[in-house]
Structure formats: C-alpha cells, structure tokens
Amino acid sequence: MNRQGRPTTPHAAANSASTGTITGNRGLQMEEALIFEIGEDGRTGVDLPPPPKVKDRLGGLKRSGKIGLPGLSEPQVIRHFVRLSQKNYSIDAGLYPLGSCTMKHNPRLNEKMARLPGLGDVHPLQPVSTVQGALQVIDQLAGWLKTLTGMPAVAMSPAAGAHGELCGLMAIRAALKARGDVRKRILAPESAHGTNPATAALCGYTVDPIPATADGRVDLDALQAKLGPDVAAIMLTNPNTCGLFERDIKKVADMVHKAGAFFYCDGANFNAIVGKVRPGDLGIDAMHINLHKTFSTPHGGGGPGSGPVVLSDALKDFVPVPYVVHGKDGLTLVESGDAKSFGRMKGFHGQMGMFIRALAYMMSHGADGLKRVAEDSVLSANYVMASLKDIMSPAFEGPCMHEALFDDRFLKDTGVTTLDFAKAMIDEGYHPMTVYFPLVVHGAMLIEPTESESKDSVDAFVNTLRGLAEKAKAGGENVAMFQAAPQLTPRRRLDETRAARSPVLRWKPGSNGAPIDKAAAE
C-alpha cells in the first residue's frame, strides 16, 4: 500500500494463483498497475520554475479542489510505459498480417524527418512567408499523389480514411447541388468497410447494398437494377475487401456516370496497385488514400492517420479549405473565400506530421520502388494463397491482390472456429489476420503479408498456419488447445460481455484495482 491506501501490487494475490509467482510477474512479463495506483501526492516528473509573481486575472474562476492526478517521478513514468509497451505486439517485432490494414514496415527515417526543427515545430498560423518549406512539403506530396493516381486534384486536409470518405461525399454532394440535383441514395457492396455506410449516413444518404457475384465482384446486373436518378454515388473499394481486383471497374464507372452519379473509390487497398495502376484511368471520381497504410506512416496503436482525397475533373472545384496554391510570392494557403468550396473538415491544414513521413517514404522508394511495393505485396499474398490452398479454404479463385482471403470451410466439423484459430496464432507468436471481415465470407480470415516481409518470414508464417490447420483437422485434444488459446500472453481471453454490460471506463478513487476473484467474476 502507498500513502493513499492504494495497493501498489494490486494483482499479486490473483496472479500468484494462476502463475505461481509471488508478484504475478512471469520473468520479463511484468504486471503493471495503473498510474493512479502508483502515483502519490507531492511527487512530479517535471521541474518547473516558480511562476512570476503577478496578481491573477482569472476573474474569480480559479479551480478549487484537487484534480486527482497522481504524482510520479520520471523513472516511474518511464518504467510504467516501458512495461506497458511490452504487452503489445508490433510490426517491428513480427509479421502483422491484418488484412485491409497494410501493416508494413514504418521507416525510422520518416520519424526523423517529421521531427526536424523547422518542420515538426512550426505553428499552423505563422505568416505564410515563414512557412514556405512546410507548404512545399504539402505541395510536393500532393504532386506525388496526383501523379500516382492520375487525378487532377487532391484535398489534403482529411485526417484519416473515414474522414477522407466524408470529404469525398461532401464534394459529391456539393457538385450535385451545383447542378441543382438532389439525390438521396448511396450504393455500396455488402462487403464494404463499415466506414462506408457510416459515412454515407453522416451525409444524410440512405445506403443501398449491392450484392456480389459468386466470384467476389460487384454484380453488374444488380448494380444496373439499383441505379436510378436518386443515386448520388457508388462507394466501391478497389482492390475490393475480398482481396480481388474489380475487373469490370470501367464498366461500373460508365454505368454510374450514365446514371448521373459519381464513383467514390475506397482507397484502403491502394497498396496493391500503387505505381502499377492509376485509379484515374479507371473512371473514378474520388478516392481517399490512407497515408497510414500505403505510405507507411505508423498506425500508432490506432492513429493518427491521414486521408487525402484525389478528385476527378468533375469534382476538383468542390474541395474543402484550406489548400495550397502557387502565388506570386511563392506558395500560399487559401483558407476562405472560395465560393465553390464545401467548407472545412478540421482545424488547421491537415496531418502535416503524416505528410512529412509519407513524402519521405515516397522519395525513398521513387517511382520504381513504389511499383515494386505493389508487385511484392501482391506476390506475397498470392504465395500465401498458393502455399495454403490445399489445407485451408480460399474464399475465391485467384489470383488475389495484396491480401489472401480464406473462409472457415477447412474448419468445418473440427470444433475450432475462426476466432479459436486466430487466438492459437497468438501463442505461436503471430498477430492474427483480420477475422470475420468481410462479412460476406463465412468465418473470414483476411491475410495481408505486405511487401516488407522476406521470403523466409512468409515461409515461417505459412508453415505455422499449416501446422495449426493440421492440428485443427486432427481434432481430439487439440480442440481444447485452440479453445483455450492464447495461454502464453499477458492476458488470456477477456470477458467482453462483462465490459459492455457494466462499463468501467475510467479509474475512480476507491476502485483500487483490488484482485478480482475468478469465482466472483463468473
């Protein structure tokens, strides 16, 4: 116990039961309390000078009472977060085959460039004459994105993929409005990312699903039947979420345009075709690009991302502010006063830190290297597919693009589910693939190895999956192993129902992390 009566080793008792150690630690696997349980009053991890003596100007609004923040020294803080970090899987530690997420290597040069004085520390509202280099980064990145996609314009401010989708639909709505056309429906395949329908709903559209054909592509007949004068746009991912190139994409574009609608492409899977195919050659009108996928900016445990949106001639005037233009005294920002602009999407100018990283990545690869990225990512995924097709069940006929999709037919009657299979991978030292997405495939397992992996690494991964598939098929006591997995992790399967039923979303004084008795928990 510390002086606030907070237990300093809150789980020792519970853990000693399950691991046999006094501390609950297991060698390098350390238990770690919450900062609120570690900290004490009167301690701090910073040394600040006394404030200048002045009479306060707070107008009587000075905070009364304590906030409740814990006090920790710098070594305590460092140890806390280092121990926490050791409970995470990461790309740097191993292959991270999460389909649709493009968990590629995050070059450290990018990190270094984003921290250069003059780039990492400039204020967004400095006079433009003092940030010409920053505007140049944005302008150059925009140039790369336009060239790689074959599109005439790009909106740089969206903060992530879903935010990019929102930007695209706002541009489409603005373009329709400009021609006096009100449309209420968006078409999206059943296999779409959840962000697509959610974004459409934010813009007031109803979402009409389009079914897929047996070979995992958009059903053109169904699309034709759904098109009509009230359809604003189709939102289609290409390569699609089944890992396949939409081979009729130009027909889709023609049909959509003929109906007076726009073609929004979800660019989440751009990695498969970067440098190899320009979306602008396929008839699309808008596409977001996840810089945190294709262009290697780190996922950071869930963000931040960046989602610039490339736009066709039909949409290029309908952009959010701000944007960079070439003026007579160099580069400048248009922050307001553009009558065709549909407005503003966020504070300031976009995810500059991500722009720098993405541009450093592009310059490092060059046109030749980026094309290689697409080729190697597609090659690796097809190699995974080819190496496992005899023992796992590919959802569709190949070739695939940069991700290999399997369903759970190979687990039929084994008693092992897709979830069990994924959890068993964790004990083998792998992050699982994306599971149960896309929704159109039963028990889906979507594997995206990315171009970062060596052949040895992919082979080791493939052999692991083979071994697990064999074990599952052999049945018997193996089934219990799958169902109990993972067993070698800092925590085993967590009770998500309990978390949702009576949500505990913060630490509170008194809720001191006392050991939770397993019997009581059940």
Binding site: P52, L116, M363, A500
Partner: protein
C-alpha cells in the same frame, strides 16, 4: 530498395510456387491499357539524399525555437519533456495497430484507460473516449451527439468560438441541412446566448477561454440550456488552462470537447493533434469513437478491452454514432505520458506559469500607446487592439524575426471590425526577454 524483403531469386521461386510466368499475370484482372503507366516521378533515393531534401525544406521555415514566439489561437507551443518523445517511439506503441486483439494489446488498452481517466478528471466530467482527430472535429461530433440525445436539430454557436471549430461544425451540419445559428462575433466577451436557445435547440457550443481570450463562468448559460432542454457543449482549445481554471464539468457542461495538443504533442504545422471528448455517464452510449473498458480475463485477472462497440461503424455500419475509425492513438499516448510526468503538482504549476506569463505580457503591452488589452479575465491568451491592421503588423514583426501573434483577420477574414485585433499567447516557453523584444519591435512598427 532498403525497405523491401524479397530478393530477385525469391521472387522467381514464389512465382513458380504460384504457377505463373511473371508478375503481371497476377494483375490479369486490371483492364487492358491501365497496367504499368509511365509515371513522371523520380527514382528511389538513399537516406542521405532524402534527408538533404527535407533539411532544405525545413530551412525555408522560421522555427519557433529561434525567435520570440507568441502564437496561439488553437495551437500552442509548450515544452515537451524528453521522455515523452522517447516513449512514444517505442516500437510496441508506434508500430502496433488498433487493439482489436486485446490479449496482445494490453499496453495500448491500459494507456487508453489511463488517458480516458485523465481527460475525465481534468475536464470535471465522468467519462471520456479514446480520442478524436482534433478539437474541431470533436466539436462537430458533439453537436451530432447532442442531436441524438435531445432529438432536436439546431445548434447555437458562440461568437467566441474558434472559426475553425465553427466552420467544421457548420460543414458537417450542412450535409444534412441541419440548422445552426452562429452568434455575432463576440470580441467584447459579453454575448448572452440565452435568447438564441429555443425548444428546437439541441445544444449551445461555447469556447472557454474564448478565441479572444475571455474566461467566463458558464454556469448561467448551462442553466439556460437545461431550462430549455438543450445541452451545453464547452470547447477548450488550450487544455493546460484546466490546471488553474474551474473545469467545464463544474460549470454544468454536458459535453466537453478539447484540443489536447498542448500536452505532449508538437505543433507540427497543425496536425496530427488529439481531440478530447468527455461527457456524463448517462450519455455514454451516444458517444462517438472508441472506448476502452476494464474487465477480467479467463483467469480472473484485470484486463482492458475496447468496449461498447455496438456504437461504432464496424459493427453498426450506417446506424453508428460516428464514422470515425482511426483516431489519434499515439498523440493520446503522448498526452498520457506528459500528463503522468506532470501529475497534479506539475499540471497546476504549468498552468500557473502560463497564466503569469500572459499577465506579464498583458501588463507590458497595456503600457503601450494605442494598444488595448481586450479580455478582463483570461488564462494564457489575449486579444489586443492595435492602431493599425494586425496582419500588416504581424508581417512587419516577422521581418524583424519575431512571430508576434495571429491577426484576427486570418481567422475572421469577413469581419472588417476585427482588422486591428491581434491574438497573442504566452506560455512557459516565453521569456521576459522575448516579451521585451516584442514590445520594442511593436513600438517600431506601430
């Protein structure tokens, strides 16, 4: 190419295993003519060459490190302890994905739980989410949430709200033709919004301190909102203020949205930042974004998971509370680490220093002829009126190597009445010497 894992020999073997003769056979579904375009882009480069190119671009910018610097208006220069940047660059934090597999993501999940707790504590609210993109998008999401809760459509936006927040809210509401009323610009800090609240009002969005620096007690406004069944959304652009100032939660706010950049996140020309989003427990199922919750594992040990995901797009699709997926995870980590280092003592001291520096700055400026300090009560930021257009003054100051604030006209280009208004912020990074340089330079240009 240093980032690619395959050798030429590997590629050949892999193609053989697949059973195709060449790589383009795998791209056979691409329409004829669309494969392998010629791209007018340079070839690959080594680290050294890339570093040179960026160093050249960085050099064209004036770094706040090198000059007296007084900009704020929604983004603030603060000292970030060295431990913060070191820790966020640990591979396990930097290169992990969203914690969808909780057994191997407890590190991320636990810091999110700590982040949510810190945000709840400082805002005086009951719950907070795991972050939004930034303060402005948090504000827009808050309006949508208020609409869901009240089943009303109208939003009233304070005239002291940062125009980027105002415009981000308005742009989103315009998509569904929802009514929003932007109150007249409130330079004086005297607006009374209660007359704009009616029985169709979902919420009032007000910033504290306002974009002009006014620090106000919002308790009466909260009462006026609640009397009409509307919610009060309070936006905070300078989060360090909550170390010293009565938090929105204590003034009756229903939703607090904030820009968390000031704690742990570099200026980085405007992004990425971290949107904070806090509310009352009773509204939790209407919140946007990810939430991390406490639970137990199979062995009864405390652990953390993403929870209440039935609100989110990947489960609820078009019925989700928001379309947000990727958020500001790593910036939230930076915030959590910095706040952990500060603790109660450091956070309070930091706020006291910021306020005292701003008071010092205000005192120095108020002695200048033709310069008037606008807010009576403020935290670390003040609007001042000048005898000349502020944009011109700022340019001239830049010519003297001083980044001397943000002209209000940059944020309110349509408001001619604000032409002579300058927004200045002071933080712990400003020395008294910097302030004196600003005063001297101002005397020369005014």
């Amino acid at each position: 190419m240093r980032y690619l894992g395959l050798t030429q020999a590997d590629r050949g073997e892999m193609l053989d295993t697949i059973g195709v003769g060449g790589i383009d056979a795998l791209f056979k579904d691409v329409p004829a003519g669309a494969l392998n375009p010629i791209l007018d882009l340079p070839p690959h480069q080594g680290e050294l060459e890339v570093e040179r190119a960026f160093a050249a671009m960085a050099k064209k910018n004036v770094s706040p490190m090198d000059v007296p610097f007084f900009l704020g208006a929604g983004a603030y220069r603060h000292h970030i302890p060295a431990a913060v940047d070191h820790l966020i660059q640990r591979s396990e934090f930097l290169t992990s994905y969203t914690p969808y597999q909780p057994e191997i993501s407890q590190g991320t999940l636990q810091y999110l739980f700590e982040f949510q707790t810190q945000v709840s504590m400082i805002t005086g609210m009951e719950v907070a989410n795991a972050s939004m993109y930034d303060g402005a998008t948090s504000a827009a999401e808050a309006v949508l949430m208020a609409q869901r809760i009240t089943k009303r459509s109208k939003a009233v936006l304070s005239g002291g709200l940062h125009p980027h927040y105002r415009d981000t809210v308005a742009t989103l509401m315009d998509q569904t033709d929802q009514p929003h009323v932007a109150a007249p610009v409130d330079l004086a800090g005297t607006e009374d919004l209660s007359s704009l609240i009616d029985d169709q009002t979902a919420c009032v969005v007000v910033q504290n301190p306002s974009v002009f620096g006014h620090l106000r007690d919002l308790s009466d406004l909260a009462k006026a909102c609640h009397a009409k069944g509307a919610l009060l959304v309070v936006a905070v652009t300078e989060i360090t203020s909550l170390g010293l100032v009565t938090p929105p939660g204590a003034m009756g706010a229903d939703i607090v949205v904030a820009e968390g950049q000031s704690i742990g996140v570099p200026l980085s020309f405007g992004g990425p930042y971290v949107g904070l989003f806090a509310t009352r427990e009773k509204f939790v199922r209407q919140m946007p974004g990810r939430l991390c919750g406490e639970t137990v594992d199979q062995d009864g040990r405390r652990g953390f998971v993403l929870t209440l995901s039935a609100r989110e797009q990947h489960i609820r699709r078009e019925k989700a509370t928001s379309n947000i997926c990727t958020n500001s995870g790593l910036c939230a980590l930076a915030f959590t680490i910095h706040m952990s280092l500060l603790g109660e003592l450091g956070f309070t001291q930091l706020a006291e220093i910021n306020h005292a520096k701003a008071v010092q700055l205000a005192e120095k400026l108020s002695q200048m002829k033709g310069v008037a300090i606008v807010p009576q009560a403020f935290y670390n930021e003040i609007a001042v009126t000048l005898p000349k257009p502020a944009a011109e003054v700022v340019e001239k100051l830049a010519g003297k190597n001083i980044l001397g604030g943000v002209p209000a006209s940059r944020l309110f280009p349509e408001e001619k009445s604000l032409a002579n208004v300058l927004l200045l912020a002071a933080t712990e990074t400003n020395t008294e010497g910097d302030m004196d340089k600003l005063v001297v330079a101002l005397k020369e240009v005014l």
